[in-house]
């Protein structure tokens, strides 16, 4: 269930890239200067280690918390916090993502594959002193199965559950309706029954009133202020060992440049970026003393989704996707005109990997690469030929005409807050312009509404993929379509393909990892051929931290991996404070100086303007 990234702001849960906040409301052109100047004064309190004896790790995040209730939270920040404050049945190894014990120490399935028995560890206690037992886990799952309000975030995991019981405090038994391969990847936070059974309405309760919040993870949630910070304290009794830092603070920075400036000043120890630092920021931080830039393969893909004709489960068609996109040849031609290498080189400036299959190459066992004959390689001439064959020919003005005789003009839904969308959009406009197809970039702060209504032709799409790719695959099945046009389904892009659905069901029922991976690859091959989801790149996770505050930290996977937004609590749990207590590295950056100079220039100009205007109007009014 943590298939969401920094930008996930969607009201329906699994919509990572859709809705985003207005980037800089209330700012003006003049803010170009204050972007660097203001945050310096913002908060110098938290990070200084050694001051009060407490070692504090401050993380700059660009996302606000949607809810602190594990039953409602879907954003990356919130689910990361739940990883830190609650135990899940299983966890993923930091080294290579394989499943390792969490709250459950071991598990086995019955020969008919329908009954799973978990052994719950007896050395995990809630922060209020009570023992964490199988009863808590059973209650959590049962609540999600019976209460619609509690199924908001993670309901998909229990949809196939028939019965969950706890015969003893250390034994949890789950009976399934159908075999389910994801039983060792149930990413559901287990909550304490004795606290949560007092909650009346799970769809309203946000778990942000009573602090500290009772949990059993490596950290305990102690304080939260919306759009400001989330404070966590180390859980000294954590069964895997206490974290090295005493306190962990997620501080909210709306402006990424401000977060970077705070990192330079040493006010924060870590910047996560949204979704990652820009190439310019990464390059400028690379040469800095005491700052390390972590540039690692990401777990996200960045794709161009085409509207396959939005429809609901009841068969009603809705939305207004261009009919020409229903032709597979057109979809292929569009993608063949996209130069993926240029996108990686120019837009991501090398901080990404060229796209191919659906699952990023980081998950090597599931990674799919199209065969030579299947691959939609960059070939504008072939693309033009394909469009001619499909019957979309150029008119005298060089514009390709649709079947209705009007020139093709595709609306591309883009996130106004994501610079990459706009940048790639500029390239698309020129590449497809060569083909004779116009492009209108529809950059919105809130893309959810047109998206859910199917009112787009193409759209920029991106998802974080878990070590178990089931969730990211499930969003393209017919089952995920909304029940009626008015409902919201789990679907990503209204894809409904019979062949895909059969393969999806097969992989879910397959318990043998090797065979399952084979089916998942065939599944991706099918998705690739449909041309509905065209993966352009796998962006890297580009993040930076201060080495004079963080001595060492675990990436996931450990060889080359990300720090923020891991499938587990490894990074913050393992972070070791640096020896040198003081952080004196407040070198005044040239950026700040120039920002101030530019600001002064603009302000003086404005000042003159303002006085002049005031005098003028005062005279007029006499």
């Amino acid at each position: 269930m943590n298939t969401k990234d920094q930008h996930d702001n969607g009201r329906t849960g699994h919509r990572p890239w859709r809705t985003r906040l207005l980037a800089a409301a209330g700012a003006g052109a003049l803010l170009l200067a204050s972007g660097t100047v203001a945050p310096s004064a913002a908060s110098a309190a938290a990070t200084k280690d050694g001051d009060g004896g407490d070692k504090v790790l401050t993380v700059a995040v660009a996302q606000s918390v949607d809810s602190l209730s594990p039953f409602l939270a879907v954003r990356l920040l919130s689910t990361s916090i739940h990883r830190l404050t609650y135990e899940y049945l299983t966890n993923y190894d930091a080294k290579d993502n394989h499943v390792i014990p969490g709250l459950a120490t071991e598990w086995k399935s019955s020969p008919d594959k329908l009954t799973w028995t978990y052994t719950i560890r007896s050395d995990s206690t809630w922060s209020d002193g009570e023992q964490a037992t199988a009863e808590d886990a059973a209650w959590t799952f049962n609540k999600m199965m019976t209460d619609q309000g509690a199924a908001t975030a993670n309901g998909s995991f229990v949809g196939n559950f028939a019965e969950v019981t706890a015969p003893s405090p250390t034994r949890l038994v789950i009976r399934l309706k159908k075999p389910q391969a994801t039983m060792t990847a149930l990413d559901v936070p287990i909550v304490p029954k004795h606290v949560w059974e007092k909650v009346d309405d799970f769809s309203e309760f946000n778990n942000d009133k009573d602090f500290p919040v009772v949990g059993n993870g490596p950290f305990v949630l102690t304080d939260y202020k919306p759009d400001s910070y989330v404070r966590l304290k180390a859980n000294k009794d954590f069964w895997r060992g206490a974290p090295k830092f005493d306190e962990l603070v997620f501080r909210y920075y709306k402006d990424q440049d401000a977060a970077v400036a705070a990192l330079r000043k040493g006010e924060v120890s870590f910047v996560a970026g949204s979704p990652s630092l820009t190439p310019a920021q990464a390059d400028s931080l690379k040469g800095q003393e005491n700052i390390r830039v972590n540039d690692a393969p990401g777990r996200r893909f960045y794709a161009l989704a085409t509207n396959p004709g939005a429809r609901a489960k009841d068969g009603t068609k809705f939305g207004d996707g261009d009919p020409s996109l229903l032709d597979q040849r057109v979809r292929h031609a569009l993608f063949m005109a996209v130069d993926r290498k240029a996108i990686v080189d120019k837009v991501f400036r090398g901080h990404a990997v060229e796209g191919s299959g659906y699952v990023p190459p980081r998950f090597s066992s599931y990674f799919f690469e199209p065969s030579a004959g299947q691959k939609l390689a960059h070939d504008p001439a072939a693309a033009a030929k394909l469009l001619d064959e499909a019957g979309y020919r150029k008119n005298a003005d060089g514009k390709r005409l649709g079947k209705d005789g009007k020139p093709l003009d595709y609306r591309v839904l883009c996130h106004a807050t994501d610079p990459n969308d706009k940048a790639v959009g500029k390239y698309l406009q020129e590449w497809w312009g060569e083909l004779g197809i116009s492009v209108t970039l529809d950059c919105l702060d809130n893309v959810t509404d047109p998206w859910l209504a199917g009112k787009y032709d193409l759209a920029f799409d991106g998802w974080s993929v878990n070590p178990d790719p089931d969730f990211a695959l499930s969003i393209h099945t017919c089952d995920a379509l909304p029940a009626t046009p008015k409902d919201t389904g789990g679907t990503d892009n209204f894809i409904c393909d019979k062949q895909y659905d059969e393969l999806y069901a097969q992989q879910l029922a397959e318990y043998d990892p090797g065979k399952r991976a084979e089916i998942v690859k065939r599944l991706q091959s099918r998705l690739y051929d449909t041309g509905y989801m065209n993966v352009m790149a796998y962006p890297n996770a580009v993040e930076a931290y201060r080495t004079d505050q963080i001595g060492s930290i675990t990436t996931m996977p450990s060889a080359a991996g990300n720090i923020y937004g891991q499938d587990g609590y490894w990074s913050w749990w393992s972070a070791v404070p640096a020896d040198s207590g003081d952080s004196s590295g407040s070198s005044s950056s040239t950026g700040t100086v120039i920002g101030i100079v530019a600001g002064v220039v603009v302000l003086v100009g404005l000042g003159v303007l303002f006085t002049v205007r005031r005098r003028a109007t005062a005279d007029d009014r006499e």
């Binding site: 207005l22 980037a23 800089a24 409301a25 700012a27 003006g28 052109a29 803010l31 170009l32 972007g35 660097t36 990424q256 440049d257 970077v260 400036a261 330079r264 630092l277 820009t278 190439p279 310019a280 920021q281 390059d283 400028s284 240029a342 120019k346 400036r349 883009c414 106004a416 610079p419 706009k422 940048a423 959009g425 500029k426 390239y427 406009q429 020129e430 590449w431 970039l441 529809d442 950059c443 702060d445 950056s589 040239t590 950026g591 120039i594 920002g595 100079v597 530019a598 220039v601 603009v602 100009g605 404005l606 003159v608 303007l609 002049v612 205007r613 003028a616 109007t617 005279d619 007029d620």
Partner: protein, 310 residues
């Protein structure tokens, strides 16, 4: 202006009425220029304006429309200034000097159109409210007051968000939010003009509402409107830059505010890539200042009560 034939009248007794009018106008223009020249700041502003307008108008010849092409970008991303790229390159490797020149077209165009729209609305409401009085004037002035107290930027942001993203939207958003001051000024001047005896005479001779407003009031408030237009242009340019900076403009159009927004999004503020940030900022400030200086000088010339101090 009324259409007049260029040939001078050939009445033996002296020049005819049309020629007289022409001569009078020419003289008043000359007088205006003589007065205007005394305002050194105004002359400086005018020179700067002429320069910017020339640069903007000749942009298709000097830099060409290919300058904003990302696929044929000549340089590497974010190159610092060099002989080949005097102002460096942007995140796509495009020449920033070229973009700055190209962007001036949009900034000036939007500024002019928005100011024209704003002054048109303001003058219309101001003149009619000053002329008709009564309940019509009350209603119009209350609407004006309402717009006057609305925070302009917030209202413009709302409009630009609700409507589709295009230049027209930006023009509309600025135009419909900045007219109230003009309306108030024009109404006051209209009231002053209409209280003069010759308006009463015109009425007595059968002059209708349209005649009074267009033939007597409008020529008298025209200088005020002109000066106001020049002043509003500068705030319109600033507003355009602000909206584009906030990401509310058309992302496919190069403008100064849009360049600042691109620079911010590319993270060049913290990276210290000053050549991406400073030139558009200075461009906005200088053009806004130039229009203000011109407007102020014009105001001083046309309205003797403001004196010669400035």
């Amino acid at each position: 202006m009324t259409a007049e034939t260029a040939e001078p009248s050939v009445k033996p007794g002296g020049p005819g009425p049309r020629a007289l009018a022409r001569r009078r106008r020419r003289a008043s223009v000359a007088r205006f220029w003589k007065e205007y020249r005394k305002h050194r700041a105004g002359v400086f502003g005018l020179a700067a304006l002429v320069l910017f307008v020339l640069v903007a108008l000749t942009a298709p010849l000097t830099v060409g429309s290919d300058v904003d092409s990302v696929t044929d970008a000549p340089g590497q991303p974010l190159e610092s200034p060099s002989g080949r790229f005097p102002l460096g390159t942007d995140q796509f490797g495009r020449d920033l000097l070229g973009l700055l020149v190209w962007g001036s077209r949009v900034s000036l165009l939007v500024g002019l159109l928005a100011a024209a729209l704003s002054v048109l609305i303001g003058a219309l409401i101001g003149i009619t409210a000053g002329h008709f009085r009564g309940w019509y004037a009350t209603v119009m002035m209350r609407i004006t007051d309402w717009f006057l107290v609305m925070p302009t930027l917030v209202l413009a942001i709302v409009l630009a968000t609700v409507l589709s993203r295009s230049l027209g939207t930006i023009v509309l958003a600025i135009g419909v939010t900045t007219w109230p001051t003009t309306a108030r000024l024009v109404r006051a001047q209209t009231l002053a003009v209409e209280s003069r005896p010759y308006i009463e005479r015109a009425k007595a001779l059968g002059g209708g509402h349209w005649h009074i407003m267009s033939r007597h009031v409008l020529p008298n408030v025209m200088p005020l409107i002109l000066a106001q237009t020049t002043l509003i242009i500068s705030s319109a340019i600033l507003a355009e830059a602000t909206l584009a900076f906030l990401g509310l403009g058309d992302p496919m159009v190069v403008s100064w505010g849009g360049l600042l927004q691109d620079a911010r999004e590319a993270g060049s503020v913290s990276a210290g890539d000053w050549w991406y940030l400073v030139p558009p900022g200075i461009g906005i400030a200088v053009v806004a200042l130039a229009f203000t200086l011109c407007g102020r000088a014009m105001e001083a010339v046309l309205n003797p009560r403001l004196g010669v101090s400035r």
